[in-house]
Every structure is written in C-alpha cells, then in structure tokens.
C-alpha cells in the first residue's frame, strides 16, 4: 500500500472516536437466558442436527416429493426429494413457500363457532363434533353436501364413505383450473377419460398452444425438468420450442419463436398445421385420418391465416418443421385452453400429435381415470341447489368458491343460504368467514395423508412436526362424527384414527404394487422414500369416431373491445398462494411486479388510449369491472390485454387482503361448452386519470448494448464459433497495460496465499449458470429467502428499491420493432469477484475475501457505511434500512409463529447491516464439518446451494473451481461461458453460459 493511511491505521483512528457511542449502545441489559431441556429424549432428534422427513407437496395437484428439514422439532426448509419419480429433487416457488402456510400468522388457531351475535368464538373440539352430529341427525342425506378441492387419495374415499353413511352422494370437487377442455377433448378425439402425460424430455420439437407448462399447468416442475433436458443446448444439439399464444407468457419466454394469433384462434392454427401434414403426407400415417377429413378441410392455412392473423407461410413452415424435426410434441392448455373455443384448441393439439405419430411416443395416456367430481359444472349444481334452499349442511375443504368463481355465479350468496356451513380451512378465506362452524385442518406438513396424482404413483404425507396450533385433521373429525352418529356411518368407518384408516388403505396399495414383504417393512420404506411407485402400462389409444364432430366455435372479442386473458399467476395460481409473503414479494417472472395486480397493455395500444405505466385503468367486461394499474408490455398483441388471477382477496389474512384486484370479477359465470370457466372476456379500458407507482424490481428492460444476458443462435453454437459480446463502454486496454495488471493481480494472489488461512485454502468456490436452461421461474429466489432468513419488506419498500432479494432474476427484452421480440432471463446474485470492488472500500473489514474465494460479509463487523453497496456494479448487496428482526417494530418481518421458519444456521441481520449472498456459506461449512467428521474429502456436487438445489431446470451448478475434474470447472471453460460486465476486471466466480436460440434463418 503506497497511500499514506492504510486500512488498519484508519480503523484505529475511527476506533478512538467511536468508543463512546459503542459503550452506550452496549450497556443495555439483556434478560437471563434459560436452557430448558427435553423431559424425555426424542428418538430421532439431536439438537443442532437436522432430521429430514419425506413427504408430498400439496400446494398444487402435481404431487412433488419433499424432503423436509427439521431442526429442534420445527420444519425450517423444504427441498425436493431426489429419488422421487415426479420432481426428481426439484421444487417450484410455491412449494418452497409452503412453510409460510404452515407458520402463517393468520392461520385459524383453533375451532371456532359463530355465536348468536354473528361473531366467531372458540369452541371445544368435542362440542364442535357434537354439533355436526346433531345437525346431520336432523336433515335428509340428500341435503348434505361436501365440497373439496382436488383430492385423489385415501381422504377422497373417506369422504365418499362418510357421506354415504348419512345417505348422501353429494361430493363436489372444484379446482378452478380443472383442465375440463383437455379432458373433454381427450374424450372427443380418443374416446378415453384420462389426462395425457407428456414426455417433454423425449421431444426435440415442442409447440405449445397457450400451455404454461413451466408455470402452473399439470405438473410444472416435472415438465420444466423434462423440457430443459430435451431443449437445452448440449453436445452441439438442441431442441426447438414454438409458443403460440396472444400473450408471451413466462413459458413463452423460453421459446425460440413466438407466434401471436388472434385470441381464440389457437386451435385453428393447430388444425391448419395438421391439415398441411396430412395434405402433404409429411408424416407416416399412424392410422386412419379419414374421419378428420372434413374438419381438416375447413382449416386450410389460407383460411386460418385470415382468421388468426398468422401468415399461411408461417403455418406451412411450422407444420413442416413439426413433422420433420421429431420426436415432436404439441400441447394445449393454460389460459389458451380456458376460453369458449378451447375444446377445439385441446382437440387440435391431440389431432396434431396424432397425425404426426407422436401418440405413444411423446404423448401417452394414464391408465387412471381423472379427477372425480365434475369441476365447475358440478359446482354450479351445488350453487343452484343451495340457492334453491336444497342444501342444509355444507362441508367445505380445500376450496374457496366465494373467491375463485365468477361473481355472476352467485356462489357466496347461495352458500349464505345454507343453514349449517362447516369450513375446514386453515385460513380465514372468503368462504370461511361466512361459515357457521370453522374446524381448521392440519397443515399438509402436520398431517398423515396420501395422494395418487397418476396411475402407479402412491405418494405419502407424514407429519414432520407437532401441530403449531390447536388444529385437527379433517379426516379425524369426520371419523369422530361418524362414531358419534352411529348407524351406517359408524359401521363403515370404524378406524380409531385417520392414521389407522390410511394404513389399512396402504395394505391394499401394497397388494396393488405387488409387494409381498411384511406390511411394516413396506410401510417404513414408503415413509422413508415418500411413497411407492411402479411403472404402469400406459393406455393405448386410437382415433375415435367422435373426433370428426369436434366443433369449431370461433370466439372473438367484439369490435372496439379488447380480448382479455385472465391467466393464472405463476406464483399464486388461482389465488391460494396469495397469503405467503415470500410469494407476494417475489417479482412476477414476466412483469417483475410485486404485491399488486396489473393489466398488461401493448405500448402501441397504450399510446393510442393515452395510458402510461402506472395509470389506473378501469377494465370493464359484461360481468364486472376492476381498476388496476397499467403495465406496458411489448409481449402481447395490441388487441389483447391480460390480467393475472390470484390477487384481490377480501379476506385471507394480512398478506393477501386488499392487495390488487380479483380478475374473476371480469369473467362470465356462464360455463363454456365443455363446462369450465371462460378465461377470455371482451373488455373495454378506461383511464381513470389516477396513477400509482408500480412496485416493480425491473430497472431498464433493455440491456442498452451492455451484454449482460448474452445469447447466440444455434447455428453459431453448433459450429463452435461463438462470438463474445464486446463490452460497449469498456475502455480499450493496451496489451502492455493488461499484462501489467495481470502481473500485479497474480502477485497479490501469491502474497495472500502465503498468509494465515489463505495458506490453508484448497477450494475456490464457483458457480456456473446456463442461460439456455434458465426458464425464469424464480424458484431459486424463493429458496434463497427460505434458506437465508431474508425479510420481506412490503410494497412501499420495493418501490424504493429496498427489497432484500439476494438472488433476483433479471429479465431483458431484445428486438420487438423490426425483429421478433425476444426475452432473456439472467439470475443475478453476488458474483464472488476475485477482484471485488466491494472489499477495498470497507473501512471495517466486514467485506473481505475468504481463503476459499468467497466475498465474505461479516455481519457483526458491519457498521453500515454502504460503501460496498455503492461500489458494487452488480447491485447484489442489500442494506437493512429498517429493523426486520425486532419483534414489535412496524417492519418486523416474522410475526409469530412465522419466526419458527428461520434457519438456525444463519444469522438474522439487524438494522444498519449490509447483507448479501455468500454461496450459502453455512451449507459449505456444514458439509465441511461433515466431511471432517467422517474423515474423507468433500466430493464434487456434495455441497449444493439452496438456489441450485431447487432449480427445476438444472441451470445452476456449484462446486470447486480449483478441482479440474469438477463439473463447474468444466463449465467455466465452456465456449459459451462469459462473465457479466467482464470489462470491469472484477473476475467473478460466476460463469454464465450464453443462451442459445434455435431460430430459423430468415
């Protein structure tokens, strides 16, 4: 150091002036701490050591396997179960946030009953059961109804038995996204009642007609994994993905080509492709397509081009690609399969797959019949019966019809007429606040249960901890009622507890999976691995005669109105995730907006209507109106607007209530021809003149030539000549100077390596992120919140750019004017620079370079000068402006019992401290402890960061850069590899691999 005052001396000077203040601050008296031992040793718990339990995620019906990490008797993290047949160890954001359902401060703490004055008051469990029994004794069985969500396991059977015991068969299952169109189309085209199973991993060419298969549709984690394995660039090969939807969804952003047809004409485009394939005999005929002749003849590319706005040449080209670049796969779903003509969209995708010969290769059909109950049309039956006074007792479990239905249906009003309404909800949602008796269920992580999302997959749930509140599992309540009521119900349901009932069911399952061992052995193994599964023979299908009768009922918005797409939010889905603060704070993958609803409008349309971003726009349909801020989105057709579902709750706890607007209010109650809710509507827009600043984390949506998220085209990548981005604003460094800089740097490193801990270092931790795999789903962001005790800060702080998200997904747009619009994602986290700008500016040595190549951040040293944050070119350092860790403070982020999810291995930072990603250093140290204790060195891949562990598309690889055999070392040498802002000479430990786009040369 040549300058006069070195860091240590500076520190000493500072120390003298700072002593007085420190002494004052240090004199607060702390209460005496107590150590309270267990009374009886707990068999599988050692304090300070994590225990992992296998269970199943119930945040959506997909049925991903979980490993739940339990410390000192409380669940602190959920991770994917690596041996699981569905998710193979990966999870989405919603599963990561399931802990916030378990510890949600707005959970109903115990059984409640509505008293004479209309208020809720606590009731004892026994009294509550007695009330149900006496009510059931008074009414006819046909007047007892039971509404559930999607239940496929033993619990569904118990409900049927319970109802039958009281002479009722009125069980309704309502799932807002129940895939009615897909089911109807499968019945029409193939004559079977089953949901298709798509093998994305085997497909080299995927075309999606609105299916958001990376977000909410069917089994998103499984599909993300399969899709990236089939599509991502590897060994000089890659797949191709074309997305056909009026709006560029998050899934569409991973596409190589986006085709935006007129809303409602997606199915016609698919049929036109099938027309071309059959007409030109592009695929070997996989059967008799004669029945389709009439249907296909009316969908010639030229005719469809006029209707859909997609040029006939494009349709012809796509058809030829689809037939020649097999194995191919066409999928139709998401909001694209939820409009009036969606049955055609789904049927057209089936037909397209059939005529190309994909059925049996990339598309197969489950041997298990699908969802019992009937979805929306059955819910309508219930609402009509309730409105007509024919429902006297209604049980509601796992459904929220008062929120998640079009208001025109009158679900809330009809249910209010039911004289005795029992809700088993864990939260005060819209339906529960109107109930008479509220009997909160256990959280899925507290209960015994199972599910069978598909044939051959029997998935178990086991309680991973003691219940947080005085809740009781609904199945146990029903068993209690049956016992008390006597009669047939008591004779049918004799199990002491639901656990016994479940075990009895699993004895039968053991038989059906062909296991001959003693039951206890089988049971223990299932508990360990999260269930039992076996390969099942898929159903073989052939074209049914009814395929000829698939009707095309074109749906278009009337002149002068916009077509509205009310799409399921990737994080809230139909709204059930809205009370999780992590999900509220998670920027929407497409718009990067938090804690809000919005309407997406094309910039040209907005300009024409005089709407700017943040203007509050009144969106009016025939069914209703909502007022939401406008977000100008280039990825949407100018004649289409889109609003996400999931927000606008009028109840559902502090994090969801009064946030955003409920887009269901715009939807018509009249069911579509296939019996679902129509998610397309014709709307008018009106600028109210009011304005709000949108709480979004997007900076500039354009890269401005900075080469942050780099991409290249497949032709270049395959030929091995990848051009690196030239740093636009980096000054030209003469070679001589560059050599000198390198020498100085190397000398510095050599110097370090001889001192203290640095002399002991063996590892240099690094990461590689493959942008051709990243789908932008943001599961890593939520996993980071969960692992590292990140506080949520709320809408106002996000507006001020004070979110604490150590990891964020940056989204950039390219083109859009003369060239096709292209979206790129870039996961941005601390780059752990080898030549870090943050380190030399820290006056207290809190930001420093660790021997193993991390930019350490010592929270207890940090005095909050924020110099490091100012000097970081990546904006990955986050400052605690307010106290998120102080109970009682307005900014406290973990109101009881939410604090129970805090990771005990990570310090909770306080006000005035700078924090950031350190590659999950607690996991590194934990695994190093393990390796030392067992006496063998760490293996490559043994340490997994939280983001890497959860990534559903395997985009993140972490490991030791000093080990030439490690996966990350190899990726760091990849020809696609680059460092962000390389021209600053920060020498990051994170290597990004360029995105590859499989585009067609113009």
């Amino acid at each position: 150091m040549s300058d006069g005052l070195d860091r240590r001396r500076f520190l000493k000077v500072l120390g003298v002036t700072g002593t007085g203040a420190a002494a004052l601050a240090g004199c607060s008296s702390e209460p005496v701490e107590r150590l309270i031992p267990y009374l009886v040793p707990i068999e599988d718990q050692v304090p300070g050591v994590s225990t992992w339990y296998a269970s199943t995620c119930r945040e959506c019906p997909a049925g991903c396997g979980l490993h739940v990490r339990v410390r000192e008797g409380r669940a602190v993290k959920v991770e994917g179960n690596p041996g699981h047949p569905i998710n193979h160890g990966r999870l989405c954001s919603r599963a990561q946030a399931s802990l916030q359902g378990l510890y949600n401060p707005d959970r109903i703490p115990g059984p409640m009953v509505r008293n004479a004055s209309g208020q809720f008051e606590p009731i004892k469990w026994d009294d509550a059961i007695a009330r149900i029994t006496s009510q059931l004794g008074k009414v006819q069985g046909s007047r007892v109804w039971f509404l559930t969500g999607h239940e496929t396991g033993t619990f569904a059977g118990l409900i049927q038995q319970f109802l039958a015991g009281f002479g009722s068969s009125n069980r309704i299952a309502y799932e807002p996204f129940g895939y009615e169109a897909l089911r109807q189309a499968t019945r029409d085209v193939f004559g079977v009642d089953a949901l298709p199973i798509y093998d994305f991993g085997a497909a080299r060419y995927v075309i999606s007609f609105g299916a958001d298969f990376l977000e909410t549709w069917l089994s998103p984690v499984e599909q993300s994994l399969g899709f990236t394995r089939g599509h991502a660039f590897a060994d000089g090969k890659m797949g191709r993905f074309v997305h056909v939807e009026p709006r560029l969804s998050m899934t569409g952003m991973s596409a190589d080509e986006w085709v935006a047809p007129v809303a409602g004409s997606e199915g016609a485009v698919a049929l036109a492709m099938a027309h071309v394939i059959v007409r030109d005999r592009l695929a070997r005929s996989s059967g008799d397509t004669g029945v389709l002749r009439a249907l296909l003849n009316t969908h010639a590319p030229a005719d469809v081009a006029a209707r859909s706005g997609v040029p006939a040449e494009t349709i012809e080209r796509l058809a030829r690609e689809f037939a020649s670049q097999g194995p191919s796969l066409a999928v139709a779903g998401g909001v694209g399969a939820q409009h009036g003509n969606a049955q055609l969209t789904a049927a057209a995708a089936h037909i397209l797959n059939y005529v190309t010969g994909n059925v049996g290769r990339t598309v197969s059909f489950d041997a298990q019949a699908t969802l019992p109950g009937g979805g929306y049309s059955d819910l309508r039956r219930l609402v009509q019966a309730a409105a007509g006074g024919q429902v006297e007792v209604l049980f509601v479990h796992g459904a929220n019809p008062a929120y998640a239905t079009p208001p025109g249906l009158g679900a809330a009003e009809a249910i209010a007429k039911v004289s005795f309404k029992v809700s088993f909800s864990r939260f005060w949602d819209e339906t529960t606040t109107a109930a008479d008796l509220v009997l909160p269920d256990h959280d899925p992580l507290e209960q015994w249960n199972d599910s069978q999302p598909r044939a051959g997959a029997y998935l178990l749930q086991q309680p991973v901890m003691q219940p947080v509140f005085d809740t009781r599992q609904t199945a146990d309540v029903l068993l209690g009622v049956a016992q008390q009521a006597g009669g047939r119900a008591a004779r049918d349901l004799t199990a002491e507890s639901y656990q016994d009932y479940l075990k009895a069911a699993w004895r039968r399952i053991q038989g059906s999976v062909g296991d001959a061992r003693p039951f206890d052995v089988f049971w223990m193994e299932c508990l360990q691995q999260g269930g039992a599964w076996r390969e099942t023979r898929r159903r073989t299908v052939s074209l049914a005669g009814s395929a000829a009768r698939v009707a095309d009922r074109p749906w278009t918005a009337p002149e002068g109105r916009f077509a509205l797409l009310a799409y399921p939010s990737p994080v809230f889905s139909d709204g059930r995730g809205a009370n999780r603060p992590w999900l509220q704070e998670l920027p929407d993958p497409v718009t990067k907006i938090t804690w809000s609803s919005w309407v997406e409008i094309h910039p040209d349309t907005a300009q024409r209507l005089g709407i700017a971003e943040g203007d509050l726009v009144e969106v009016t349909s025939e069914a209703g109106a909502i007022t939401v801020p406008a977000y100008l989105y280039p990825g949407i057709r100018p004649d289409v607007v889109a609003v996400p579902l999931g927000q606008g709750h009028t109840a559902f706890g502090r994090y969801a209530k009064d946030v955003g607007a409920n887009a269901y209010r715009l939807l018509a109650a009249e069911p579509t021809p296939f019996g679902g809710v129509g998610h397309y509507a014709a709307v008018a827009l009106r600028n109210t003149g009011a304005h709000e600043r949108i709480a979004k984390t997007e900076g500039n949506p354009r890269q401005m030539g900075r080469g942050i998220a780099q991409a290249t085209v497949f032709a270049e990548a395959a030929s091995g000549k990848i051009e690196k981005h030239e740093e636009a604003h980096a000054a030209e460094v003469p070679e001589k100077i560059q050599r000198l800089l390198d020498e100085v740097q190397q000398e510095q490193y050599r110097d370090w390596r001889t001192r203290g801990s640095y002399a002991l270092a063996t590892a240099h931790w690094g990461m590689a992120i493959d942008l051709s795999r990243c789908t932008g789903c943001s599961a890593c962001v939520t996993a980071c919140y969960a692992e590292n005790n990140l506080p949520t800060v709320g809408k106002e702080m996000v507006r001020r750019g004070r979110e604490m998200s150590w990891m964020r997904i940056e989204r950039y747009f390219e083109g859009g004017h003369d060239t096709p619009l292209e979206a790129r994602f870039l996961p941005m986290l601390c780059q752990q620079c080898g030549n870090a700008p943050c380190e030399p500016v820290c006056p207290v040595f809190a930001a420093y370079h660790t021997a193993d190549g991390l930019n350490g951040q010592v929270y207890n040293r940090c005095v909050g000068t924020r110099y490091c944050g100012n000097n970081c070119p990546y904006k990955v350092r986050y400052f605690n402006w307010y106290d998120a860790s102080e109970p009682g403070a307005a900014t406290f982020a973990w109101p009881e019992p939410l604090h129970l999810l805090l990771n005990p291995d990570v310090t909770v930072r306080s006000k005035g401290v700078m924090e950031k990603c350190t590659f999950c250093v607690q996991r590194i140290r934990g695994k190093q402890h393990e390796a030392r204790m067992r006496g063998s060195p760490l293996k490559d891949g043994e340490i997994q960061t939280a983001c890497q562990q959860t990534c559903p598309s395997e985009a993140i690889v972490f490991g030791d850069l000093n080990d030439p055999a490690s996966q990350v070392s190899k990726l760091a040498q990849d020809q696609r590899g680059y460092a962000v802002l390389e021209g600053l000479n920060t020498r990051p430990s994170v290597t990004y691999l360029q995105k590859i786009r499989n585009v067609v040369e113009a």
Binding site: V40, P47, G48, N789, T918
Partner: protein, 194 residues
C-alpha cells in the same frame, strides 16, 4: 460479568447487536490448561458455602463436582450430542431420573424435580445459561470435541471441581483466535460468522 448476548438456536431474537464484553480481555490464559481429571480420591465437599461461589444461581443446585469429579462421570453422559452436533446437548429429565429414581432420592435438590410430570413440558428445569455466544457466532462442538480432540476443560475450565458452574473463559473472539493461531487452523471470519 455475563455479556449481553443471545443464543445460537434462537435466531429470531436476534439483532446482531454489537457485543461489548464487560470482562477484561485475557489474551492468553495465565492459568494454563486446566486439569481434565481429578485425583482418584477426590471427594466433593458435602456442604458448600454458596455465598462466595461464582456463577449464576441455578434452580436446582446441581453439583458438577459431585457427578463429574467425585463419581467420575463422563461429561458426554449428559451432554450427549457434543461429538455429533453443533450443540453439546442438555440432559433430559429422564436422564436425571435414570439414576435418581434409585440413588439419592432423598436429597432435597433431587426432590425438586423427582416427581415432575414428564408429559408436561412446563415441568422441565429451567437452567440459567452460563456459556452464551451471540447468534452471529456458530461454534461447532463436534469439530472441537471429536474432530480436534480438545478436552471440555480447555474452554469450560475445571468443571469437575466446580460446585456451581461459572464461565471460566472469556469466550471473546481474541481468545478463540489465540488458540486457532497456536494450532495453525483457520482464521477465516466465515468459519464462524455467517
């Protein structure tokens, strides 16, 4: 003389407050390494004048000098997790009763808990914590006890001779680092702070 600090496990409580230890810094312990065993004929005094004893008063006057000194019980019999976990582990009430349902049942201190209802968590003894580290320090017991083979007494002092346990070492960072330097092991901040 205890410092204002919070436990490792109760992460929520904690602001990473600046800890100003009120004890004087002892860079190197002038007392040397304390003995790990007591003479074979060591007998803990029957009556102890508690007025002058250092260390906090505990709800039960548990005598380490009787258990670990006179009867030569291994520390790890009660602190059962010290070799496998970050935390040493505190004996459960059943561990206490394993012996005391047979021996010394008439001792007035034993009688304070011998009839406790083991199904009621409120009836556990609420020990006053003696050795407290701030929540931003992560001290792995197993790495030291099993990995490095360091005796308990090195940090905790001659507990086997203490009628009442007190904090023997300063537990300040300089004291940690002195030992780490002497043994040429890591001095990295993120070895403990994260």
């Amino acid at each position: 003389m205890r410092t204002a600090v919070k436990p490792l496990s109760e992460a929520v409580k904690g602001a990473a407050c600046v800890v100003l230890a009120l004890v004087a810094a002892c860079r190197a312990d002038p007392r040397g390494t304390p003995p790990t065993t007591t003479p074979a004929d060591f007998v803990a005094p029957v009556n102890v004048d508690t007025t002058g004893l250092p260390g906090p008063v505990q709800p039960v006057f548990y005598r380490h000098d009787v258990h670990a000194g006179q009867y030569k019980m291994d520390c790890r019999y009660c602190h059962y997790a010290a070799e496998v976990s970050l935390h040493p582990g505190m004996p459960t009430m059943r561990t206490c009763m394993g012996c005391h349902s047979i021996v010394a049942g008439d001792n007035p201190e034993v009688q304070k808990f011998r009839d406790a209802d083991l199904s009621d968590p409120n009836q556990s003894v609420k020990w006053v914590r003696v050795h407290v580290l701030p929540q931003f320090v992560h001290f792995p017991h197993m790495r030291h006890v099993k990995g490095a083979g360091i005796t308990c007494q090195t940090c905790h002092g001659p507990v086997q001779e203490m009628p009442r346990v007190y904090q023997y070492s300063s537990l300040r960072m300089g004291w940690c680092l002195d030992c780490h330097k002497k043994n040429k092991v890591t001095l990295d901040c993120t070895a403990c702070h994260y």
